[in-house]
Structures are given as C-alpha cells and as structure tokens.
C-alpha cells in the first residue's frame, strides 16, 4: 500500500474524527455560552466524560467542581501550552489553527470556577507563535469585555524547562520562581497561582470543553469507550511511511489497529505517551488499548521498526530525563542518572546483566517515591523496555 493510498484510508477510517480542526463559524458561541449558567456548563462537561488531555486523565468536571467550591477572592485558569513531551506537537498546531476554540474554553472554565484572570503558559520554544496568538488573545479580551465580562487572558512565555509542564512547576515559573514542582497536597485547585485556587488545563482539554459547551456533550460522549470518552489528537512520528503528523482519532483503539493504520506493518514497538510513557512491544499490540483503561497518552505515538535498537531508544530517553529532571528530589535526580549509567555499564560489560534487576527495583522505587509526576513517570520507558527488550540492552 503506498502512502497516498494509506492517507486516503486514514481519512476515511471509521475512527477518524473531525471536531477540533473542523472549520466552523463560532461567532455566536460566546453569546450562547454566556447565556448558560455555570451549573449548566459544569453539568454538560460532566456528562461528556471529558478527562484531562495532558495524559494524566483527571476528570475535567471534577477539577472545576473543586475549584468552584474553593473559597477565595481570586481564582485563576491556566492553559498549559508548555508542550515539551518528546514526540508531542499537537498543542502547537491547535494554537496555530484553532486558538479561537482554546480561548472560549478558558472563558467557560473561568465562568464555572469564578475566575477573572487566565494565563496561557506558552512553551519558550514556541515564541514564534506569539505574535499571532497575542493578536488573537487581544481580540478575544476586547470582545468579551464588550460583552461585559471581567475575564481576561494573558500570555506568559516559559524558558525551556520540560518540568514546567508539570502543573505546580508551571505555577512556580509563572510566579517568577525557579520551575520546581511543589508538594501535593495542597493541589492547585485549592492553592495554586499566588496561593489561590487555580485550574491548569492542557490546550486540547480546553478546546474539547469549548466544543462540548457549543455542540453539546453528546458529540463527545458518543465517541470512545466508557473509561476513555471522546476523541484525542495523536502525534504520529517515528517509522511511519506517512508524513509525521497530527490525527484526531477516537479513543479506545488497540495499538494493533493503530499500527495497521499508520505503518507498513514492520513495527516492533510503539512508545505511547512520549518519553514518560510506556513502550509497548509487538506481542502486546493486539490487547493494548490506547486510553485510560490501557496505556494513556498525552498524544505522542512513536513507532519503531525492526531496524531500531531499543538500547538506543532507551538511552535517548534516559539522557533526556537525566537533563530535564528539575533535580530537587533524590529519586528523580540521581535515579535517572543511575538508570542511564546502569544500562551503559551493562552494555559495556562493566556490570553483570543481573544489575538490570537492581535497576528495575530502583525504577520501581522512583515510581512510588519521587516528588512529582516527572520523577514518577521517568522510569516508565526503562521498566517497559527492559521488560520486553532485555537482550537488546544486554548485548
């Protein structure tokens, strides 16, 4: 099957969805949304089954409910556009093409929780999006001000640390501090930006929130599975014979279906969820569901064919974490370095292959004792690659 044939097949595939990137006129959206009560909005989002699109999958309505119920004089909505997960590039595209659906999502969230201020925390490397996005934000602020809304949005630029995608590190950075995750609890919904209740959402979550409010929860709920409702924007890279790119697909596909769709079949592993995600080997393709009941992903899907060395793949991820750990907590700062040094030592024969077992234990300890999500998930690729490709690490 040549690539153009496959592209056509994908376009016609039953799992293909067109919600986010659909060209549509949203002029009356604000009027319709602003007529709705916050309770109604919350109810609609709850009904839709929307869960956070950054990867962790926390129910969106619940986050809103907590922040709504928190008592405070000020509250904040933050759009997390610090898209740094290796292999993820969907937020960039959404902000470029559909910023007009992101900003209303922030407004809806603000109306529900009672916030008057929103921030877009934009990845430092995306600074080139700034001129267009600023214009969009300015117009939006103007438009809602005319409608008598007090809410306004401001864009803040990150400085290039991966860890600032973690919501509390993002908040620290937004406050002008070094980007280091905070202890949780308290969670941002009760004490976030400047100690006030704050909801932090991935760009994609906010777009879906807009769509759900605009078009009703049914358009979302009717897709996906019971645990993983709706659709998701996937970023395809690696050994695909198509152009690497962005595809909005229904949740709940198996990796087998996915690989059949995007490759010529010679795929030995798929890294789901980027560097902090899981590596799924071929033998598990058929019974692994992409979604919260199987392997969750913030969007990144990297395909590896039989020519790839999984040692190199793992080495690459560990180098990434050794550098991008913020370094404050012991399991993550030193653990990542040890995993990297460890596979090098086993590969070179300095350490016996059994040392991998010690490292697997260490990785398990990192998962349960690191301070934040970065440290807890940094060991994921190690654990899954060593489990399924041990020989490649050893020899």
């Amino acid at each position: 099957m040549d690539s153009s044939t496959r592209e056509r097949r994908i376009a016609e595939h039953k799992k293909r969805v067109n919600l986010i990137f659909k060209k549509c006129v949203w002029d009356d959206f604000l009027d319709r949304a602003l007529e709705m009560s916050p309770e109604d909005m919350l109810e609609k989002v709850k009904e839709s089954g929307l869960r956070g699109r950054g990867g962790a999958g926390f129910p969106t309505w619940l986050k809103w409910k907590f922040a709504r119920e928190a008592e405070a004089d000020e509250k904040y909505v933050i759009c997390n556009a610090d898209e740094g997960e290796p292999g993820t590039f969907k937020d960039r595209a959404i902000l470029q093409e559909q910023a007009g659906k992101v900003l209303p999502g922030m407004l809806v969230c603000a109306k529900v929780i009672g916030a008057e201020k929103g921030f877009i925390y934009l990845r430092g490397e995306y600074a080139y999006l700034l001129p267009a996005l600023s214009q969009e934000v300015e117009n939006f602020n103007e438009k809602i001000r005319e409608k008598g809304e007090r809410f306004s949005i401001e864009i803040k630029l990150g400085s290039g640390a991966y860890v600032c995608g973690e919501e509390t590190a993002l908040i620290e950075s937004l406050e002008g501090n070094r980007g280091e995750p905070r202890n949780k609890p308290p969670f941002p919904v009760s004490e976030g930006y400047l100690g006030k209740p704050t909801v932090v959402h991935n760009v994609e979550t906010l777009v879906y929130a807009s769509i759900i409010i605009s078009e009703g929860p049914e358009c979302f709920k009717s897709l996906g599975t019971s645990d993983s409702a709706g659709a998701k924007v996937f970023c395809i890279s690696g050994d695909t014979d198509l152009d690497e790119g962005i595809y909005e697909l229904e949740m709940g596909m198996t990796i087998k279906e996915f690989v059949e769709l995007f490759s010529d079949g010679d795929i030995k592993a798929v890294q789901v969820g980027g560097a902090s995600g899981h590596c799924v080997p071929r033998k598990k393709f058929a019974d692994t569901i992409i979604g919260f009941e199987g392997v969750p992903t913030g969007g990144s899907m990297v395909l590896f064919n039989s020519s790839r060395s999984m040692y190199n793949v793992l080495h690459n991820y560990l180098e990434f974490f050794e550098e991008e750990s913020c370094g404050q907590c012991t399991p993550c700062r030193i653990g990542c370095q040890q995993l990297l040094k460890g596979i090098e030592a086993v590969k070179s024969g300095e350490k016996p292959s059994e040392y991998l077992d010690d490292l697997v234990k260490l990785a398990g300890m990192m998962k349960i004792s690191a301070k934040c999500g970065l440290g807890q998930s940094a060991a994921n690729p190690f654990i899954s690659i060593v489990e399924h490709f041990r020989e490649e690490i050893m020899y």
Binding site: R178, N183, Q328, S369
Partner: protein, 598 residues
C-alpha cells in the same frame, strides 16, 4: 486553627491540630521517621524523600514531612516497601556523595552518615556519579564542598527564609543541579554575610566553617609567641553541648581552666570589651540624642548597634544609605584585639609584634571581621585568629583533657573582669538591656526602673520587638531628656533586621535605638555554635545566659572595676581620642556584587 484531626500511625490513634504533618503526628507518638531535608527552623521542602511512609489506599509513598495529616488517614512507617525505598534513597545519595568520611570535618556529626549506618547501606550499591568539584575556600568564614552536598536545600532556605540574603541558590537542572551562588562565583565574591546559618543547618560536610585549629595550635606551640585568648559570652552556654553536657549547661569556669591547660598564655574575656562597648556605645547614643534634641542638629537617629558582623556586612551590601546610623563602635571582639596589643602589651611589657590574639566566637562572621583591612588600629592585625565554639570543642577533644571534671577558674585580670550586662550580649535584646542599664543611670543617677535590673520587655524570641522607656528625674546635665520617651526596637535574624532597616532607609523609623543581631536568637544561635540548632536548644541557651547574668556580682557595665580602671589609666574618657583611634571604626559601601572583571 483549633480543628483536631485523628489519624492512625502504625495502628495507633493520634490526634493533632489541623495543619500538622504526618511527621508531626509521628513525632507526637515518639515514632521516629528519618529526615534529611527537613529542619524545624525553615519551610518544608519534601525533597530528599528519606521520610517516605506508606499510606493506606495510595500506591505511592508520600513524604511524611510534606504530607498534611488528614482525618482517618492510615499511615505505616515501617513496612518493607518503606524500608526499601529509604534504603534506595540513601544509597542514591551515597552514589553522588564524596564518601571520604574519615577525612571529612563533619565525620561523626553527619546526618547522611547516621542514616547510612542506621539503614546498613552499602556505599557501592549504585555506580558512583560523584562529579569533580573544587572546594570553595575563598571566604575567610565559610567553606563549601559540593562533593558532599545532598541537595537538601536547607542552606538555600536558611539563607532566604531566615536571612533574606539568598547568597546560596539552586542552579542547573537534573544532573547539573547544585547549590550555587550568583553566577557561580566564589563565596567571597558574592553577597554573603558570613553569618554561617547555612553551616548550622547543613546536614553533611558540604558547608563548614573555615577552620583555624592548626593555626591556633601553631601559635601555642611557638615559644616566641605570647598567645592571649578571649571568649564571647554565648560560647560558655553552648560549649558544653559538644563535650557531652546537657544543652543549656553553663561551663564558664571550666572553659577558663581548659583554655589555660591548652596552653594559652593569658585567658581573657570578650565580656570585658562588651562592657566597654556599652560605655562607648551608650555615650555615643547620648551624644546623638543631645545633638538632635538639645542642639537641633541633623544627626542620624536611630542608632543601630554594631556588634554583629553579619548585620554589618548585610547593611554594607543591602542598605548602604543607612551606614551613618550604625554605631561607630567596633564589636567587642575587635575592641579586645586593639586593646590587647596596646593597653595590655604596654602593661605587661610585651612587644605586640610577638603577641597572638585568638578569639573563640559563636560566630563565623567574626572570622571575616577580624580580617577586615581596617581592623589594625594597634598597628598590627588586631585579632589574629578566630575559632568557633565548635573548633574549640575539637581542640579540647584533641587535648585529651577531661573537661567535665575540671575545676573552675577565673579569667586573668586586666581584660578579664566582666558584668552580667556583658554576658547578656549573647542573647537577642541583651545589648539593648545592657545599654539601658548604663545609659539610664548615667542620665538619671538611678538604676533602671525594672525589678532586679531585668528589663523583661526587651527579652524573648519574637523576631522584631519594641519597647519604650520614659526618662524621668534627669540629672541637670541631661535636663533636655526629662520626660522623653526613648523608643527602642530589637530584631534578630536578618529577615527581621530588614524590616527595621527599611524603615530607617525610608525615613519613617519611629525609634531612637535599634539592636540588630544577624542570627536567630542572637549570638547564642550564631553560625559557629554547636550543631544541631533549633528553637528548643536556643531557648535553653538563652535561659543559661540570663541565669549567668543573675549569678554575677556586678550587673551593670559601668560597675566593671577593670573598665573603670582602663578609663583612668589609658582611655581617659568615653569617646575620647584614644577611644576614637582604637575602639571605633568606619563602614564600607559594598553594593550588590563586586565588579565583574575580576
């Protein structure tokens, strides 16, 4: 916050107030949870992960120090998962650590070493990732060795939370993460007050005082040198801690005996010059008040105390505009050095060139102060060597002397007599109280109107305290002060000092006299004092200071017979010509950082 929370730790019910952590709750039950990054004086970090515990229905192991106790919570502190995680954390720290314990200054007083022993951790469980760091020996006070750092950030939080200095900060991510300084410059180059509070809270040997033990032994061993030693008031209420005594023990007499046995030629007392400081500084204050209130001159008021070298350097860096408000009096340590090499040298017939002045201080900033180029009014460097309470502890241990069974003795005369007013210099508020005991009597001819001379309103541990004294029944010379209300303020810890200094800088300070001590609790909590430190320990040292004061015959600086004598024989009068040369100093505007082209 009276809400109560009940939780279970190791199946035992415990009730704590809302806001308490799991660690607090465990401590209430006397269940030990190991900690490393946690310190009671500073904010919670939750970084080291040594204190992880098992929480029912949670897959992860939360850090006890950073997890708020919650109603119905079930915690287990000693499960297999917990032990293994802690062991792994400690092993990881050792893999990053310079494990050359035998040659480490903190060997035997290191929290990491203690943990490794408790959890029987093998140092080589993981591959060594120790990086090649140089030791920063640039500062005369503080030495920084990154190879021994565990990144607990206790120093960083101390420097920011307690001292408002932030000389130490975190730099780099991931494997490059380390405790650094402004642009990774050496400590002598950056805005560091040398207070040593970071040293007091460093769990390992990464931050230590620069030690001068060998220099002091060298002077003692040199027969051509006449070595005199002075000890600061706060040393005598803390030295016992490093020698096996209970916290808060007063060991003044034994300390004097041991110093004589160590081989010092004369054992004097910084308290003598503390009394002298009161006379000079009290008269300076009265002069400023006269010029302002009587003559209507534009005189800098309030007057700040100048005994604390950490405070002085802080002001020089951060508040250069208020340097004229600082008393020009040298600190007691420096007054002592200048007088030892002039007055004492003359009386004893010793060539000051052959004299070595050693001071034992609760302070690391004193090392820097002694090295200031302007501190040479005797014609020589006034104070040659400064060692901390901890270093003296090492020397005593090295000497093999059975400290606890020593007889007590008194300091040598000429620079050794002291009053209770000098002793209380060691506690926050003490200089204020001592100054009041003298100044009030100078002005009115009567003792301060407080029972047993104890000026309770200026005492205590609140960060900023204020008091006022109404002056009534003035002697004729001081009639212009009749009925005046002297407004006083006291701050300890530089974060508190900042508040009072800022008021002065902005011209809205309501006070006449302000006492500042750089360290929490004053000198008794100084950066050279025994480790560990916490509020309980500082309170015990404070109690010891005030009971020492009450135990003494003389309790007002102007009653010190040797002080009276030195004015008769040598200085002639307070603020006189000789005083001006030997006992007063000037300050240097330092800016936020030094020029970068060094």
């Amino acid at each position: 916050m009276s809400e109560k929370i009940t939780l279970k730790i190791n199946n035992i019910d415990v009730t704590v107030s809302a806001g308490a952590t799991v660690l607090d709750a465990a401590r209430k039950l006397k269940i030990k949870i190991p900690t490393l990054c946690n310190h009671p004086d500073i904010c919670v970090a939750g970084n080291c992960r040594v204190c992880v515990v098992e929480q029912k229905d949670s897959g992860a192991l939360p850090a006890a120090c950073a997890t708020p106790a919650a109603e119905g919570m079930e915690i287990h502190t000693n499960t297999r998962r917990v032990r293994e995680a802690r062991k792994a954390v400690i092993s990881l720290l050792l893999s990053e650590h310079n494990n050359d314990c035998l040659r480490c200054y903190k060997n035997g007083n290191c929290e990491l070493q203690e943990l490794a022993t408790e959890y029987t951790v093998e140092a080589d469980r993981y591959i060594s990732i120790l990086k090649d760091y140089g030791v920063d020996k640039s500062s005369p006070s503080i030495q920084k060795d990154d190879s021994k750092c565990v990144r607990c950030q206790r120093c960083v939080r101390t420097c920011a939370n307690l001292q408002d200095v932030s000389a130490l900060w975190i730099s780099g991510k991931g494997r490059k993460n380390k405790i650094s300084t402004f642009m990774d410059k050496t400590i002598d180059y950056v805005v560091c007050t040398n207070c040593g509070q970071c040293v007091n809270r460093c769990p390992t040997g990464a931050l230590t005082e620069k030690n001068y033990i060998e220099e002091v032994w060298g002077a003692i061993d040199d027969p051509s040198k006449h070595v005199v030693v002075q000890t600061a008031p706060a040393v005598r209420v803390a030295l016992g801690e490093v020698l096996g005594c209970e916290t808060g023990s007063r060991v003044t007499g034994k300390m004097v005996t041991v110093l004589k046995r160590l081989g010092f030629d004369r054992v004097f007392d910084t308290n003598f010059t503390a009394d002298l400081t009161i006379i000079e500084e009290g008269h300076e204050l009265l002069r400023r008040l006269s010029e302002k209130l009587r003559d209507g001159k534009d005189v800098p008021l309030p007057q700040f105390t100048s005994c604390s070298p950490g405070w002085i350097k802080y002001a020089e860096h951060v508040f250069p505009e208020i340097l004229d408000y600082l008393s020009t009096c040298k600190s007691p340590q420096q007054m002592f050095g200048a007088l030892a090499k002039t007055y004492y040298a003359e009386k004893a017939g010793i060539d000051p060139a052959d004299m070595v002045v050693v001071s034992v201080m609760p302070c690391t900033a004193k090392k820097f102060e002694a090295a200031r180029p302007e501190m040479n009014s005797s014609g020589f460097r006034d104070v040659d060597c400064v060692i901390t309470t901890r270093e003296l502890g090492h020397m005593i241990k090295q000497s093999g002397i059975d400290f606890n069974n020593l007889e007590e003795s008194l300091c040598d005369s000429l620079l050794g007599a002291h009053t209770g007013a000098a002793v209380i210099f060691g506690a926050t508020g003490g200089v204020m109280e001592a100054a009041l005991r003298t100044a009030y009597e100078v002005v009115t001819g009567r003792a301060v109107p407080f029972e047993n001379l104890n000026i309770i309103p200026v005492r205590g541990m609140n960060g900023v305290r204020e008091a006022s004294v109404k002056i009534e029944g003035c002697l004729s010379k001081w009639k212009f002060l009749e009925g005046a209300e002297l407004k006083l303020a006291i701050a300890h810890g530089l974060v508190n000092a900042r508040k009072l200094a800022k008021q002065v800088a902005e011209g809205r300070s309501p006070y006449h006299f302000i006492e500042i001590m750089a360290c929490p609790g004053g000198c008794l909590g100084g950066g050279g004092q025994p480790i560990p430190t916490n509020m309980d320990i500082r309170m015990k040292r404070m109690d010891a200071i005030y009971s020492e004061d009450e135990s003494l015959e003389f309790r007002k600086s102007h009653d010190n017979p040797e002080v009276i004598r030195i004015y008769e024989d040598f200085l002639k009068e307070p603020l006189g010509k000789r005083s001006h040369k030997l006992l007063h100093t000037r300050y240097t505007e330092r800016g936020r950082y030094r020029t970068l082209n060094r």
